[in-house]
Symmetry: C2
Subunit: 210 residues, 2 copies
DNA sequence: GACCTGACTAAGCGCTTGCTTAGCATGTTG
DNA sequence: CAACATGCTAAGCAAGCGCTTAGTCAGGTC
């Protein structure tokens, strides 16, 4: 379960360099992910997190300056991983249709596999300290802009046919984001299978002629 | 602002019979909607709610037995209003295409106009007392089932063309629900206009030939 | 006038919260 | 060996929490 959270936060980093932190700090962070996702940030106590990581409450403060710092680190890494994935798909070789298909597949399966991190990333924004919120808001703007640009390219090349690009982009990201709200490990579809199906639906929605 | 919340909770009830409560109780409930939506249930204090309603903290307990009772009432009324709207659209006269278009338009515009109530309904489920959660979960099942049945009808009649009905239904409800996460009064589109655009996108997604 | 009722407030109780302090082992360095 | 750094715990502090208590006051009833 925390393996999935770790994969969502540090997609291609080896286990011994994740977030450049010690093993204990990582355990605390993954315990925080679990509890923030299950109960919400405000309903989670520092005692919950420390206990889940097998330590006393005070140990948390050796590795992180505050409860909010844990949220910030999760939110920042989660958003960065999402942006990386979006930029990789949008900038891949090939036409707009293939790139959009990959974008939706990767975006959706990321939100399914890492639904715990995804819930925090998308539903606990309001709990972030304002300074951190601004950083994260900028990452979100870049994600939206990448999707917008890809749709615009597709429309220009005749591959897509939509009347309102902005609404279409909203719908595409919205579909993927909301997966983190309802997906559970008990869902019948694998993240990859869900990604493929959503890819088909989105291409149709965009009026893809392919 | 609370007008919108009131409309989302008691869609066609006259102002003097909303929830069959006194004016003061209604003011407290709408203050709770505002704060729960803005800060989240756990971050909201009973003092916040009472102060926003222009009263002392103790006054809340004359009208409601607990903070959780406020959440329960909001969640229950919000889910019931959504189910009513879905059933009305799905059971209207006409073919599957027209009914689905109306369902998406109404479902989407409800989540836009009443995005405060919508946020609570969809993102504070975990804070509900277990007994109340079960009631609400049943309402959610009925909403999902109505959408599922309508898509099934459309596929049977040849109006729709989807490979996986369950995933399609998920996508339809998911698109509408997520509107409550990102929509604000400052959005450029009116709830109705957004509903119309989402209606077009969804019909395409379902492979509608009309 | 005496009494009751219903909506409200001032004050505060018991508890939990995020976080701090003081101290204790262990391993490393001179 | 002494001296120190590191990673942890036991205990607890100030603040804030949901909720209760005791009492005020206006309006109605006899």
């Amino acid at each position: 379960m925390s393996d999935q959270a770790a994969a969502a936060l540090w997609p291609d980093r080896p286990a011994d360099a994740q977030g450049e932190r010690t093993e204990t700090a990582r355990r605390l962070l993954l315990a925080a992910v679990d509890s923030f996702a299950r109960r919400g940030y405000h309903a989670t106590t520092t005692r919950d997190i420390a206990t889940a990581a097998g330590m006393s409450p005070a140990a948390l403060y050796i590795h992180y300056p505050s409860k909010a710092a844990l949220l910030s680190e999760i939110s920042r890494a989660g958003h960065q991983a999402t942006l990386d994935l979006v930029l990789a798909a949008a900038g891949a070789p090939g036409g707009p249709v293939e790139r959009m298909r990959r974008l939706v597949e990767d975006f959706t399966s990321w939100h399914a596999r890492g639904h715990t991190v995804g819930r925090i990333v998308n539903h606990e924004l309001h709990a972030l300290p304002e300074e951190e919120f601004e950083v994260v808001a900028e990452l979100r703007r870049q994600i939206e802009e990448a999707v917008l640009a890809l749709i615009r390219q597709g429309v220009a090349s005749g591959a897509f046919d939509v009347q309102d690009i902005r609404t279409a982009a909203r719908a595409v990201t919205s579909l993927g984001i909301d997966v983190s709200r309802w997906y559970t490990e008990r869902s019948s579809e694998t993240p990859e299978e869900l990604g493929r199906r959503y890819g088909v639906l989105v291409l149709r929605m965009l009026g893809s002629t392919a």
